[in-house]
Homo-oligomer: 565 residues x 2
């Protein structure tokens, strides 16, 4: 909170009795209070805006002629780990896109390393320039249907209550736990009632009423318009998600109206560096809404003001006195073309990032792949059943289909003609050495295998392949690299992106990671897989909280019936 | 906060596994998330809504066929004392009008009795059925320009931080104190930064920037549209006020649009029981906006949702799961005709009020008029100056004009032909016996005098009259009654409304107070005064924070120049 001395300084600078710390000269402010434009100066004292609509003198002056100033953007829900980089690098990557606030849920790395991962994220957040708010991972492990590397208990969570940068309880994926009154879930809810993020794909009717009445405030899992409509009519803030796999913006865009704006937000959830480089971040979502003809006042409110208010984050989302000086300067308002970004009163550039305290140590995240090397034999499937459950993937969606396909009795192999690949999940946290095998439809691979230590949410090794040798080769490459993504063809590793931090994050800068991702993708394409993001698509197949058929280290799982097949 | 047991009960009732505590059957819900209507049941568990849009069974069922359900209303800023009744009676008066939430500032009674008055209001609030939030009076005494009965210091305020029902710092009227960096004002600001109510009539430009940058969030003192527009464009929530004297609704109604709704609220500030009986409360403001053709979604959002969100009051302002079951059932939606009110899940009726704990003791508020009897001689004015400062009142406005009128040298008397009356303010807290005399234009009295122990904000005795004898008679009547309003004509007390609690509040029920107010008004009319609310108009004349000319116990005060004349 500001001190009396700082408040006095703000008053003096606002009144023009003292030179402002920074003045954005001749800006055109897009005023989110009513949609009007205000021409003039923006005076900034420390991290706060202190004056608009008047002439001001500043120690530093930035000429903003021809630019439109809008409030910094907010990513309402993001897993930083999905960008494959650390929080410090994430900020370097997204802050220049105008994302000055993000609510992250470190549940990927928490599933590998437990409460220490939350501590690490909070340490990072305390030293970052943007506002990174950390929602506390609620479901680690996500379910009993998988083996995670660590658990976060009620007692762990209680220790984080009231700490700086804590944003409440992160997405409460265990919907059955809520509806069936699981005591451990209820205890967590009691702790964070009213500050709980939701995750409730396809939930509706009385069960949705119950989930919301339990104190869950928002949801980012609506794929269909009517689903989203029911949720926000029942008071949830609907986060419109545009991730690298789950892309809901086009479908949900009709919601973006001035009437609905108080109940909407934008989020990326899981977005990789390639996607951010090509399509931007929240700025890209804003641009697409504007291009589609959405009301600009609605769009820009949704981009920060509305979710900040719903989350009781004060002084965020307006260019107005008292508000944090998080300002995006646009060279083209209608296209949301970001020219410069001001973050808490400072220009975003290399110097700003260089001024941060050193990044907290990542040593605890290393050496997280604790399983034995495998052989082709480990992937062999022999069964005399004819009808087999097969996971059907849907491109650019997290949902999968529960297919039942006939396969010859005896040894069951992948079949390129029918687009059936083998899939396996191998426990890699040194707990029990579980291995599960199954089949998947939709990768359209012709040969080889791809493997990943990113496998939501327990992040065991998952591998898809057309033959057992390449599956073993790809998995062993990941064990050697202590995590990452690998492609093997004909017994050779043809692509490898190391992610040595928890098997989830790189220790390199975001540009290097982006380049490495492109090489990896090129290697994956050699298997014949035409998917845009084959590794992300693979990484979500072990997630037992999303309908309909998944695979974990414990077996193939029927989500609708909440049981193993 | 809800317990895990209660949350579990909510979940069971929401799912329909257990009979709901109360079901509002066949209601038409006006959904403030998007302006749609939802037909169906509203299931309530305890004080919360748990289900909408489905069929529910309830232990208690209220047939709501033909009714429209909207969220309970909020009075964003009110001085309960101005209704001349105690908080318990205030609730009996306004809750049936659908006002389920109010943010009050007990600064009238605080000026008489100090921090004990805040304690009393918090005690009342803790036991009331509606949500009465107590904003802590920031300026007691309001200024150094008057003598109050008590002071509330920084240390006093600090003792209230974090207590239940505390809503932050109440209207920060000492604008010069803010702008000129008064250390005691800055200390209070530091304590409540970002949770501070404003009071800044006519403030604009850089000074308004400074006032807002100091952490003040809202304002209810805009009389003109452009003034209000500048304030909300700078991020303030503008409270549209319709008090018994200060009435801004017609002037500010053009602001009521769906775009502006997040930054608007309704408030009554100072409204007497007669006014509430005749014009309703927030329901009456809603009805007038609807009749004038305002967008219903905007109007109903402003009536609670928007100000609750801006104030970070969770779960208020929607009829949706998880939200407090504060519901107004309307027999006529377009006219905002209230048929029944549900407050925290209970039907509002005599039984509900009878179930409250006994009212906290009001003994500390008695015997507050501590001044000596007066004689006609005390009101004699002799001066050889010709041009005299005269307070010019404006009907239905708190603003006054600074008039300069010529009066004959020597003894200066009231002059009915020129509409000049005498005015006096007498210190009544037993501090110094100050008396100030002056002249006022606009009461149009022909004879007699009216006197009041309500005299904002120090609540000294103020009296207006056409002759010294009647002024003395009216004042002495108030001393005998230990507070209230009096009318004297020809040496006789012809009207008296006792307000023995601090000289501000009655110890009777609101209907008796209303009847007594009507008798008083009839008596006041006998003086020839045609004003609708002569006592309220009188009561605001000592208020030195409102432009342009006022009178306190210390003398006649020029607000613009912040000095005595």
């Amino acid at each position: 909170m500001p001190t009396a001395d700082f408040i006095a300084k703000c008053i003096r600078q606002a009144r023009g009795l003292e030179t402002a710390d920074l003045v954005l000269k001749n800006a055109r402010i897009f005023n989110l209070a009513d949609g009007s434009f205000i021409q003039g100066d923006i005076a900034i004292c420390g991290d706060r805006i202190v004056g608009i609509g008047e002439n001001y003198e500043g120690w530093a002056v930035l000429d903003c002629s021809g630019m439109t100033a809008v409030p910094g953007f907010m990513d309402a829900h993001v897993h930083v780990e999905s960008s494959l980089i650390t929080p410090y690098e994430f900020e370097r990557c997204v802050l220049p896109h105008g994302t000055t606030t993000a609510v992250c849920d470190p549940h990927e790395i928490s599933n590998v390393c437990g409460p220490a991962a939350l501590e690490y994220f909070l340490d990072c957040a305390a030293n970052m320039r943007m506002d990174l708010l950390v929602a506390l991972s609620s479901c680690v492990p996500a379910t009993d249907m998988e083996t995670a590397g660590a658990a976060i208990t009620y007692e762990d969570l209680r220790g984080f209550v009231g700490k700086p940068c804590v944003a409440g309880l992160a997405e409460l994926m265990n919907v059955p736990g809520v509806l069936n009154l699981d005591p451990s879930v209820l205890a967590k809810i009691e702790l964070f009632y009213g500050n709980i993020d939701g995750h409730a794909p396809l939930l509706d009717g009385k069960d949705l009423n119950a989930y919301i009445a339990a104190g869950v405030c928002n949801d980012h899992e609506s794929h269909e318009l009517e689903e989203a409509r029911e949720k926000f009519r029942k008071g949830m803030t609907v986060f419109i998600r545009e991730g690298s796999v789950a892309r809901n913006l086009d479908e949900l865009m009709p919601l973006v109206t001035i009437e609905n704006a108080p109940f909407l937000a934008f989020c990326t959830d899981d977005r990789n560096p390639k996607d951010i480089a090509e399509n931007g971040h929240i700025d890209g979502m804003v641009a697409r809404c504007l291009a589609a003809g959405c009301n600009p006042l609605a769009v820009y409110r949704i981009a920060c003001f509305s979710p900040a208010l719903q989350r009781s984050l004060k002084y965020k989302g307006l260019v107005a006195p008292g508000y944090f000086a998080d300002i995006v300067l646009l060279s083209d308002f209608d296209k949301c073309q970001v020219a410069s970004v001001i973050c808490k009163g400072r220009l975003v550039n290399d110097e700003l990032f260089a001024s941060r305290k050193p990044e907290p140590s990542t040593e605890i995240f290393r050496n997280s792949v604790k399983c034995k090397k495998v052989t082709a034999e480990d992937f062999r499937i022999v069964s005399y059943k004819i009808e087999m459950p097969v996971i059907g993937i849907r491109e650019l969606s997290l949902l999968t289909d529960y297919l039942k396909l006939d396969m010859p009795a005896g040894e069951k192999k992948a079949d390129a003609d029918r687009d059936i690949a083998k899939i396996a999940v191998l426990e890699r946290h040194g707990k029990n050495g579980n291995r599960a095998l199954g089949f998947v439809h939709g990768f359209k691979m012709q040969k080889g295998a791809i493997a990943s230590t990113v496998g939501h949410d327990s992040h065991n090794i998952c591998v898809v392949g057309m033959n057992d040798q390449d599956m073993a080769c790809a998995v062993n490459a990941l064990i050697d690299a202590q995590g990452g993504f690998a492609v093997a063809i004909d017994g050779q590793v043809v692509g490898l992106q190391p992610l040595p931090l928890g098997g989830l994050m790189s220790d390199r800068d975001y540009k290097t990671v982006h380049a490495s991702s492109e090489q990896l993708q090129a290697a994956a394409a050699k298997t014949g897989c035409p998917l845009e993001s084959p590794f992300l698509q693979l990484a979500f197949l072990p997630l037992p909280v999303i309908p309909f058929l998944r695979i974990t280290d414990k077996g193939v799982f029927d989500v609708a019936n909440w049981s193993f097949v």
